[in-house]
Amino acid sequence: MKQSIFEITENVALTKDVYRMKLAGDTSAITAPGQFVNILLEGRFLRRPISVCDWEDGILTIVYKVVGHGTEQMSEMSAGEKLDILTGLGNGYDMTLCGDKPVLLGGGVGVPPMYGLAQCLRQKGIEVSVILGFNTQSEIFYEEEFKALGCSVTVATADGSYGVKGFATTPLEGMDYSYFYTCGPEPMLKAVYKATNTSGQMSFEERMGCGFGACMGCSCKTLTGYKRICKDGPVMKKEEILWEA
């Protein structure tokens, strides 16, 4: 974990309410795709945890959806403005277990961390299939970016306005894959858990206090004991997940 000041270099709308922000600063604490950063905003007490979309030396990219006051405030910021950010939070995805042809499933604002993961897997020369699930065509983002990485990309929309009609799990049927990675809203994670016939990893969300394991604000029960989403997660292995009613 590292606390440092980043400067916004880009903040653009990808859809009606999803934005991509690029920031220049010290990314040395980020060690794995699926980790997150915690952003301090003027006038807001708690930081905003946002997953890392991708990163390289000195450049951090986040893709976030406006869902409340904090993200709305972020969407109004422009290049040149500075942000106090904690980086290198959470465990991230374990890429050693992926096998020879993993499938990545991203739902809505769960798509961004899949991009960083796809990038890392492709750099290792691994064949990557990607399924992106959205409600409707106007909400789709990053299809071309995944294709540019050389991934085989399938888009599913709930209303059938683009690609396969259905959910992120719909194209899974009949697909041959060695392992899965996913991030998305909890109903989708549950559906992926049921629909997949291999092991895999999923990333969870929870309201957080600190984001670095100190406050126990985001604890959950797993089959291997109590875990803090922020520190022991946000990524959990399929075998340890305990769904609570």
Partner: protein, 303 residues
């Protein structure tokens, strides 16, 4: 440079800065960031007799200048705290530490305190009779003078280290409770724990926190804390540890002028993990600005 030392219940502190229980774990998360031996001490995560998961999530809500938590005393229970957490704490912190204890009965408090009292590194026992997030215990002991005194007596009977009773602000007369603890043998009083609060989500029309209510903390409660520390410090002879919304060296000095011998910092740690170290480093300059030679001389200086 002015002197930062204070003496808390017979134990000398290099400075009065103490991260508050529940915001600092067992220290090691922060030890990855800086040398936590720069702190006066810290109060570790509230410990109970049995292991506890705590409350369902969401446990956190944000407010203007603060937050609400309803963690509900998640901890591995006193046996595991001693066997697993304290060795890890010892590896990164070499000073006497404050052991924070909660319970659901007088016997619980005595049991847990007796165990922790035997641990060499424990300098003080901070007995939390003020947790707003558990049912049938916690705060109910801290809202009635007789019950607070009963816990104090039971703990004092089985321990040798200084016992500091941590009080709740959710009462009509804080002074009578503090005095009851003093009369029952408490060596110190710490206050304030969080204030009972609540937020409601306009979209779902449901409370933001699964447990509905939780403990409100952060800079917003600082004036309430200063007021209560002042009232209690002027009514008891034992040392008072002040806390509630403290986030800067100026806040520490204000709290000490109100009557605090040492000062705990809570919610601010969650936002800026370096805040306690920064406060320790900022204190000499702020002391010079207000012509303070020694922090211990300003305790209760506001008349």
């Amino acid at each position: 440079m002015g002197s930062l030392n204070v003496n808390l219940c017979g134990i000398e502190l290099d400075n009065p800065i103490i991260p508050a229980s529940g915001t600092f774990g067992y220290g090691y998360e922060y030890a990855e960031l800086y040398d936590i031996n720069e702190l006066g001490t810290f109060s570790f995560k509230g410990t109970t007799k049995d292991p506890r998961f705590g409350n369902p999530t969401p446990r956190i809500a944000e407010c203007y200048s603060g937050m609400i938590n309803a963690v509900g005393l998640q901890n591995p229970g006193v046996e595991k705290v001693i066997s697993e957490e304290l060795p890890k704490l010892k590896a990164c912190f070499h000073k006497p530490v404050m052991a924070n204890v909660s319970g659901f009965s007088v016997e619980d408090y005595a049991y847990t305190c007796e165990k922790l009292d035997k641990e060499e590194q424990v300098g003080w026992l901070e007995v939390n009779v003020s947790c707003p997030n558990v049912h049938g215990g916690g705060m109910s002991f801290g809202t009635c003078p007789e019950a607070a005194a009963e816990v104090t007596k039971a703990v004092k009977a089985v321990t040798t280290k200084p016992v500091i009773i941590k009080l709740s602000p959710n009462v009509t007369d804080i002074v009578s409770i503090a005095k009851a603890c003093e009369d029952a043998g408490a060596d110190g009083i710490s206050l304030i724990n969080t204030m009972l609060g609540m937020r409601i989500n306009l979209r779902t029309r449901k409370p933001v926190i699964a447990n509905k209510m939780g403990g409100f903390s952060g800079p917003a409660i600082f004036p309430v804390a200063v007021r209560m520390v002042y009232q209690v410090a002027n009514a008891v002879k034992i040392p008072v540890v002040g806390m509630g919304g403290v986030s800067s060296a100026e806040d520490v000095i204000e709290m000490m002028l109100a009557g605090a011998t040492a000062v705990e910092v809570g919610a601010a740690n969650l936002v800026n993990p370096y805040v306690c170290r920064d406060i320790v480093r900022d204190l000499p300059e702020v002391m010079a600005k207000y012509r303070i030679n020694s922090l211990s001389e300003i305790i209760g200086g506001a008349k």
